[in-house]
């Protein structure tokens, strides 16, 4: 008997961590109990995108999109929806703007403006089932390349498509392939860079989890085009689910003769091995990644020679990022013109972003290049929650830049972002609102990059921690105006003289915030004020005498006993010396009597070095 319903339960890592497996089990039990197991099938898919709404599930053919599903909802969904055809409205996605319940996935703004190319199969097929992938035109592009196209024709179509490296730098992919194809070496390698290291980024993980065959197919096509016989997928050991699914996919592809010896009986042979990385951010840099695969310390190597000429084990090596690989089969199948019809002239195609921070709909989105930041943040992302004001958006991960409101109508493409002092990067996109202190944000990213510097070259190893020291000095109220010049000089010097891309981009968050938010830096230095009230050394908690009802709740909850007073006799008083600025009193006060001050009253001497 044919199935009439497919229930797609998202099992991307985010939904797994919000217990999608329990939901799946409960659904499965209910379906069995109602005798529906022949007509309804549960499919576990990769990430569907809106991660903060998880666990999410999608019911086909009607396309009903359920959010925040709990195991105890399973009975109701099966009874009402699967049996009686009445979707359970309380679990359907609700449009926050229109306050209306949306029954079909297509009408949801989060999905409506997206264009899925790379993520086409994510959330739609079962990643552990190669047949579903094949049904979705899987391996057809490989077949086409192997049987109908000469090697250089494959490279030509990639070149013509204008595809650029999705790892961040935006180097033309076709050119890279050409370099490797024309290099000589007894063996050539194809490598997938899955060392996704940006905090908050999960584009690569989601694609590898949700549609591993797309990456495998892309790599195999490239191997044919450049003449490689071996491939490596370098992936973080922190991504166990992606590794598991990749291994399953590789096994299935080998079994079907789509990988290994004599692929599709064309005489072409190629196989892929998975290598796990230990999570060093610098290993996303291709020469460091090569060193790591070879079993060496993960540090960048001198270029030239470029990996295309002398890479892995001294052989010509083609390295592309996961998302770049995800584009290949679509281009081979649909042609360069089709690809160029999406996106912009210089940045064709789509880009996947991990949207996070102070935005209503966080998650994974794929958009055509050239969409403006405003559309992405306000239409797809749904804008800033809790009625707060947008302040900045940080693109490109920890070494990207912060873009202020006045540039929100900038189209998202490699050149436009770079012009603003930000970068495309691998697709991190963090939205900030008025509660974010930009100095603190710069400090946060610099903490990350200085920790992740490999330690080989001086500017990056030593320069980043020194910049961090200066930022700490500023956020603790000990900065001077000279520090701003010093930060600028150091930042520019590190960018200009660092060995690899890590150092060459790491100062971006500082330089871009200095450029667009210098007034916040000034306030920290001259007024000892943090307007977002984030920097704990620059804030003080006070109890408003008139508003205090002397209920004593603040004193009871203060973890350090810094609040004293007598019940019923206002006001209670906070001892500023003892206060650790945890904000508990502010949270618990039922009368809103606790205020946070910054700048105006906390003029205590912030001398660095005083005991």
């Amino acid at each position: 008997m044919t199935r009439r319903l497919d229930v797609l339960v998202c099992s991307g890592a985010a939904c797994v961590s919000s217990h999608s497996a329990a939901v799946r089990d409960a659904l499965s039990r209910e379906i069995d109990e109602n005798g529906l197991s022949n007509e309804i099938r549960i499919v576990e898919t990769g990430c569907m995108g809106p991660c903060e709404l998880g666990p999410v599930m999608l019911v086909y053919p009607d396309g009903a999109f359920y959010i925040h599903v709990k195991p105890e909802d399973a009975a109701e969904i099966v009874q009402e929806h699967f049996l009686k055809g009445r979707p359970v409205k309380r679990l359907l996605w609700e449009d926050p703007e229109a306050r209306r319940i949306v029954e079909g996935k297509k009408q949801i703004p989060f999905f409506a403006k997206q264009v899925k190319v790379v993520l086409r199969n994510c959330g739609r097929i079962d990643p552990e089932n190669i047949e579903e992938y094949i049904a979705a035109d899987g391996y057809e592009a490989l077949g086409k390349a192997l049987t109908q196209m000469a090697r250089n024709e494959v490279i030509q179509v990639i070149t013509d498509s204008g595809l650029r490296g999705r790892g961040g730098a935006g180097f033309p992919t076709g050119k890279k392939w050409q370099f490797v194809a024309s290099a000589t070496g007894e063996t050539k390698y194809v490598v997938c860079n899955g060392d996704e290291g940006d905090p908050g980024a999960f584009m690569d993980r989601s694609l590898l989890e949700g549609d591993p065959h797309t990456v495998i197919e892309g790599m195999t096509i490239a191997a044919y085009a450049v003449g490689a016989s071996r491939g490596y997928i370098y992936i973080r050991a922190e991504y166990p689910l992606a590794i598991k699914r990749l291994q399953i996919a590789l096994g299935q592809a080998r079994k079907m003769g789509l990988l290994g010896e004599n692929i599709l009986e064309t005489g072409f042979s190629f196989d892929i091995e998975v290598r796990m990385g230990a999570g060093a951010f610098v290993c996303g840099e291709e020469t460091a990644l090569i060193a790591s695969i070879e079993g060496e310390r993960g540090i960048a190597r001198v270029r030239p020679p470029y990996p295309a000429v002398r890479g892995l084990f001294g052989m010509p090596t083609l390295i592309n990022n996961v998302e770049t690989w995800g584009n290949i089969r679509h281009i081979v199948l649909n042609g360069a013109d089709w690809f160029r019809s999406i996106g912009t002239e210089r940045s064709p195609g789509t880009k996947v972003f991990a949207l996070s921070g102070k935005v209503k709909n966080t998650g994974l989105v794929e958009i055509p290049m050239g969409m403006t930041l405003r559309e992405l943040i306000f239409d797809i992302g749904g804008g800033i929650p809790n009625g707060k004001k947008f302040k900045a958006v940080q693109t490109g991960g920890p070494s990207g830049g912060c873009i202020p409101e006045k540039y929100l109508d900038t189209p998202i493409d490699y050149e436009s972002l770079k012009e603003l002092g930000a970068i495309m990067g691998s697709g991190g996109m963090i939205v900030m609102d008025e509660d974010n202190c930009m100095v603190n944000i710069a400090k946060f990213f610099l903490e990350f990059t200085s920790d992740e510097s490999c330690g080989q070259c001086v500017p990056c190893r030593t320069g980043l921690p020194r910049m961090l020291d200066i930022l700490k000095r500023i956020t603790s109220g000990n900065g001077t105006m000279d520090d701003l010049d010093l930060l600028q000089h150091l930042g520019e010097m590190i960018i200009e003289t660092s060995f690899c891309g890590l150092g060459k981009t790491a100062p971006n968050p500082v330089l871009s915030t200095l450029k667009y938010f210098e007034d916040e830096y000034r306030e920290h230095i001259e007024e000892k004020k943090c307007r977002a009230k984030v920097c704990t050394d620059l804030i003080a908690y006070r109890i408003d005498e008139d508003a205090c009802r002397a209920c004593g709740i603040c004193a009871v909850n203060c973890p350090v006993g810094a609040i004293t007073g007598e019940l019923g006799k206002p006001p209670y008083i906070i001892d500023e010396e003892a206060c650790i600025r945890c904000g508990t009193c502010l949270e618990v006060c039922p009368f809103g009597a606790v205020h946070v001050l910054s700048g105006e009253l906390c003029n205590q001497d912030k001398r660095e070095g005083s005991k």
Partner: protein, 232 residues
């Protein structure tokens, strides 16, 4: 061998293909400051002192091979500023107290500060608390004075062939180590040859028994040794 024509500081010179910019500059008597480079050892481009301007782009001259028609500038105000700031960073990173150092007056780092006209270190000093390993019968490694140039690592691997030295940790936690981090005195692969001592540009790796300013080093010995071996 094929000769290549380049322009260095406005002067047209020809040099064999495969030469680095640093090699060509040396032949021409053009001084370029270096720290991690040592003739006879491989180049890693770590210290960034030898940066030059090639067509507006800053590159390390020790690792960049010459190419036909290359325009190289070895000295400019900007380059001087970048080198000086880089040097300040090295001084700020560890505890370089010259007055107490066995290598005082015989130190490449100290000399560079004079050569580059470093007036003071503007960036905040890190003042880390680092260890000193005196477990070896003849030598000492003082992390406080190490600049992570990696010469010890390379000389031990490339000339002595003992592979005792390595670098562990990343970022500001990076340290030179002996045999995967055991005490130097326990490192069985060490041949006590002392080449690491001779090539160390500062007072980080030194001979025991030397008082302040007594330690003189001869990195050129390694260069000579390497040349002789290659010529034999």
């Amino acid at each position: 061998m094929k000769e290549i024509l380049i322009r260095i500081d406005g002067k047209e010179v020809s040099a064999p293909a495969g030469s680095t910019i640093l090699e060509v500059a040396k032949q021409q008597g053009i001084p370029i400051p270096t720290l991690c480079h040592l003739d006879g050892l491989s180049d890693i481009g770590a210290c960034r002192m030898c940066i030059v301007d090639v067509g507006g782009k800053i590159v390390t001259s020790c690792t960049t091979k010459i190419a036909e028609g290359m325009e190289v500038i070895t000295n400019s105000d900007r380059l001087a500023e970048l080198r000086r700031l880089n040097l300040e960073l090295i001084f700020a990173e560890r505890n370089h107290v010259c007055s107490m150092c066995v290598s005082n007056n015989h130190c490449e780092l100290q000399d560079l500060a004079c050569d580059l006209g470093m007036q003071h270190v503007e960036v905040p000093y890190a003042y880390p608390r680092l260890s000193l390993d005196a477990s070896h019968p003849k030598f000492i490694i003082d992390q406080n004075r190490c600049i992570l140039c990696g010469r010890c690592v390379r000389v031990c691997a490339e000339v002595e062939g003992a592979h005792v030295w390595g670098i562990a940790g990343r970022g500001s936690e990076a340290r030179v180590i002996t045999e995967l981090g055991i005490d130097w005195g326990d490192a069985e692969m060490c041949t006590d040859c002392g080449k690491c001592v001779q090539v160390c540009p500062t007072g980080a790796i030194v001979e025991k028994g030397k008082a302040a300013a007594e330690m003189e080093k001869h990195p050129e010995l390694v260069t000579t040794l390497k040349e002789r071996r290659e010529n034999d």
